[in-house]
Symmetry: C2
Amino acid sequence: MASRLEKALQNPDSMKARILAAARRLFGERGYTETTTRLIARTVGIDISTLYYHWGEKRDLYEGVIAAINEEILGQFRQIEQRCRGASLRTRLEIAIDVMCDYLFGHPEVAHLILLAYFRTSEHNVLLDINMDKYIGNIAVAMGLAADREHVSVQARARILALWNAALNFISGQAFFRPMLGIDPAAYEAVVKETLKFILVPAFTSAHDPETLPGAPGD
Amino acid sequence: MASRLEKALQNPDSMKARILAAARRLFGERGYTETTTRLIARTVGIDISTLYYHWGEKRDLYEGVIAAINEEILGQFRQIEQRCRGASLRTRLEIAIDVMCDYLFGHPEVAHLILLAYFRTSEHNVLLDINMDKYIGNIAVAMGLAADREHVSVQARARILALWNAALNFISGQAFFRPMLGIDPAAYEAVVKETLKFILVPAFTSAHDPETLPGAPGD
DNA sequence: GAGCGCTTCCATCAATTGATGGAGAGTTCT
DNA sequence: AGAACTCTCCATCAATTGATGGAAGCGCTC
């Protein structure tokens, strides 16, 4: 339940919700420091003081954005888990890729924000705490790669991370990559899904042995 | 040839080179806007005016960093190409992964900077022009996936991108991912290489038909 | 030592940005 | 009408930041 989010946010026409929506888009497009409170206010069409009246510090507004996204993502995973019941591993993987890609392509700012959160070693990274641990555990369990969230092998987690990151990258960097591939948005979305499936499915379904770490590179 | 880089940069003790080195590290750690010229100057132990004397605008310094990295990366690809001659496809792929991982783990700020460049839609993204086109073409040719740089299929390019991005993410986000996997740096490096090989090699070497999704063993 | 070029630093500016105080405007309740 | 409450805006502050001008130090040649 979205119990954490206050009442005003339920109504998308409320000023607080309108500010949150604009902030989410702008933070996603420009990152934290390059998104000024003035810009957010101007986008909404209000004075900067009105923004501060509703949200207090800039960081609180940012945390509000992250919190909303966290809940959305968990909802996606619940959906994946539900739709995966009883399916084969390959089907589960493909469902997971389809659901997450549809969601992220529909909300590219989410991919932006998560990636920006990863690679920020500065001060304000602690607070945004995208809880990847939980996500990965959920995926592994939903995929049937582990019995419970706590016992997922390093290899499995690393592979899930690799796929998750690849999806985030393709979607977040669409403006950069799509021109390189010379295709239109719909084709891009299809190519991304196809590529992720092409890469992932064999990685988890074929008979690789996960034990043997390659001996240290010769030279 | 590093003909673009001026003489002063050849000497790593020169003030201009020292500033560049510090800027490279800081830009990589904190991004463009969060790295102030004052911070760079303080890191080098000089006054801010000295920095401006040698480099002019902040943006020029940033471009200097990107230019140096571009040349380094092209050097890595040349090395890959050279070491790949005559090897099998699988060996070529593994060499490429090893070389690029060794390089990026040794220069994590490069991974940071490239990723930051991808996802920045703002003003100052145009200038940094990480020329991925060229990189991808080089990889595809070195891997024997295409006859020349101009004719690489969309699928092949997308797969190379996916792998390249995964590598960048693992290395750039090490501070974030490694604790999640609960392993030490050396093991992390090994796991990353293993994961990339595990994912990539089947994707390019197995008898997948690029049209149909994996006709792999049922589960 | 005078002159000159190169390098460095101190002082300072203008613009931006996060943040606040206080004054209105609108509504509701008494 | 008037008190009380909610919401919005104008004016403003202090700190940060990119950038510059000018003076001083240093090494060199004449």
